[in-house]
Symmetry: C2
Subunit: 339 residues, 2 copies
């Protein structure tokens, strides 16, 4: 089947291609009557404008890129739903790039985007080692960007996170309230500011309650699951904490698995709390007390800020840190019992 | 910062734009020496070809679309990882469209794709009511497509699923082996062939074991979560099944929640098995026996078939049904106990 293009429409209406093209750009150069005739035929023949050609004309791709570290993660799938709800409303297409925490991939994705494929970028950083030059370069190219969750703190654009410090504080405070005396913390090491802030919240809560920091109770994890398992197992076995705060969902699930292997009873022997957007948190054995992030809202807000700039045809995104609070949901994993 | 474009390169080298452009198309019309000079300057100035302009020239967007019903779903996030691993290797960009089970959205997404934005499509159908005309139209436009998981059975392209019938059979057979006499089945009604096949497997297993089908034990669910909860609760409360097979992850999680509300003890009073790719299946209370689909492999295979056709510059994708088997993972939710 031959595609219906501008030329075909022009031939059938005995008009020039440029006149037909003006109808689709809603130009004032042609009469309303001509415009209606063109649009009526276009509808009749199911004409679809070529997006590549019209993007070239308008210099707009009507596409944004979303760069995220992973997708099999409840926080990110919920954030994507938030992003995508705004994109659909605005008639934008969404390209996804998954870095799998690899800094090199992040660099090459941002390179690919320098050349006009997209109108804007939403990005949540990988935790891989490396500098931020590629992000500065992308900004210099004038491409609007918004950071969400795993932000680049010194970027001069909008950054959206939850209240990481306060949530880390709240989680630790909750364990103290539940009677814990030896509270461990597990987190992902690396360049993520959110990880450091959650840890700072933990340290501040200990200090405020006059509890000493025991470095042996703080375990940093990396990308190697087996090694993380070994380190968390060693922490629980040797240091015998009575409370544990994990700043990432993956690590709190790991802690459950370690406890199962060691026959540690949660919450009797160890109380657990973690940042998590797990939909099955209430169904775990025992149900998991969580710091639940407003993931959908964070994605929604990030996309809204970006589209607001795109609508105004401006790369000028406010240099601002927007914070949307998490909630502490108490469940059995931190319950006081009569043991 | 002004973008480095062909014109700028041409000016600095005192060449015509068309000569410079030929260097990037590796044309034989210009000398090797000229070509090297152009490429050297392009590298020096960090020139990025405009993908829109070069797509228009080659009629290739180096982009594929993935249309899925939802993203906060372990099957789909794992399948996306499979798709994306092939796309990254092949240097392709991936647009995602989420239908949220809405047939109208599916139709409008496929309309958007008719106009050359992408080189090919991977699609898993929404369960909304409606016909398949939009998919036939997309095929007529010559756009290569591959269906995965929720396939359009009568399409003349490659369709990739797990062994849905056999897995439904196996799940039911397992419940019978564990001593269940009244086995219920919950599924999503609608146009999904995979749902019907899994149900057929359930029916065949009952028949093979000389067990009568009780229609009151078969509950079809829809998009309304509250209504599904009410129906599944009514099923468990009134019909008192001793086994339950759910053909979708969402519904088996719902069944856990219903049991918690009714104080039904799993597996003592009711044994549960479900299709699920839940990473926390082993941590649930009790751990969940699953039919686990090869989600990553299904996504990987779908993308591989599509890219093979794209590489050959062919819209000709084999009319074939590829089946990748699921596995039954036995856990506590179907264990025989001494009650």
């Amino acid at each position: 089947m031959d595609p219906v293009n501008l030329k075909k429409l022009a031939e059938q209406l005995n008009l020039s291609v440029s006149t037909v093209s003006k109808a689709f750009r809603n130009s004032y150069d042609i009469s309303e009557d001509t415009k209606s005739r063109i649009l009526a035929l276009a509808r009749e023949l199911n004409y679809q404008p070529n997006p590549l050609a019209s993007s070239l004309r308008t210099q707009k791709s009507k596409t944004i890129a979303v760069i995220i570290p992973e997708i099999a993660n409840n926080f990110f799938t919920q954030a994507i739903n938030g992003i995508e709800s705004v994109a659909q409303e605005s008639g934008y297409h969404v390209l996804f790039y998954i870095t799998h925490e690899d800094h090199n991939k992040e660099v090459s994705f941002t390179r690919l985007l320098q050349s006009g494929r997209v109108d804007g970028v939403l990005i949540s950083l990988s935790n891989g080692a490396g500098n931020f030059d590629h992000l500065d370069q992308l900004r210099e190219k004038g491409l609007p960007m918004v950071f969400f969750d795993r932000i680049y703190e010194s970027s001069s654009t909008t950054r959206i996170t939850t209240n990481d410090f306060e949530s880390g504080y709240l989680a630790t405070h909750h364990l103290i309230e539940q009677g814990c005396k030896r509270i461990a913390h597990i987190y992902f090491s690396g360049r993520l500011s959110i990880s450091n802030k959650r840890k700072d919240g933990y340290l501040k809560a200990l200090a405020d309650h006059g509890m000493e920091v025991d470095e042996k109770l703080i375990v940093s994890c990396g990308q190697d699951r087996t090694e993380n398992f070994r380190n968390v197992k060693q922490l629980i076995e040797q240091e015998k904490p009575d409370g544990l705060f994990s700043s990432f969902e993956k690590l709190v699930i790991l802690a459950y698995e370690v406890c199962a292997e060691l026959n540690i009873v949660i919450p009797d022997q160890l109380k657990l709390i973690g940042f998590s957007n797990l939909e099955t948190a209430a169904l775990l054995n025992p149900s998991l007390t969580t710091i639940t992030q407003p993931a959908f809202e964070i994605g929604w807000k990030a996309a809204s800020v970006l589209f607001k700039a795109l609508e105004k045809n401006s790369a000028n995104i406010p240099d601002e840190h927007i914070v949307i609070d998490s909630v502490l949901i108490k469940r059995k994993s931190t319950e006081k019992g009569e043991y």
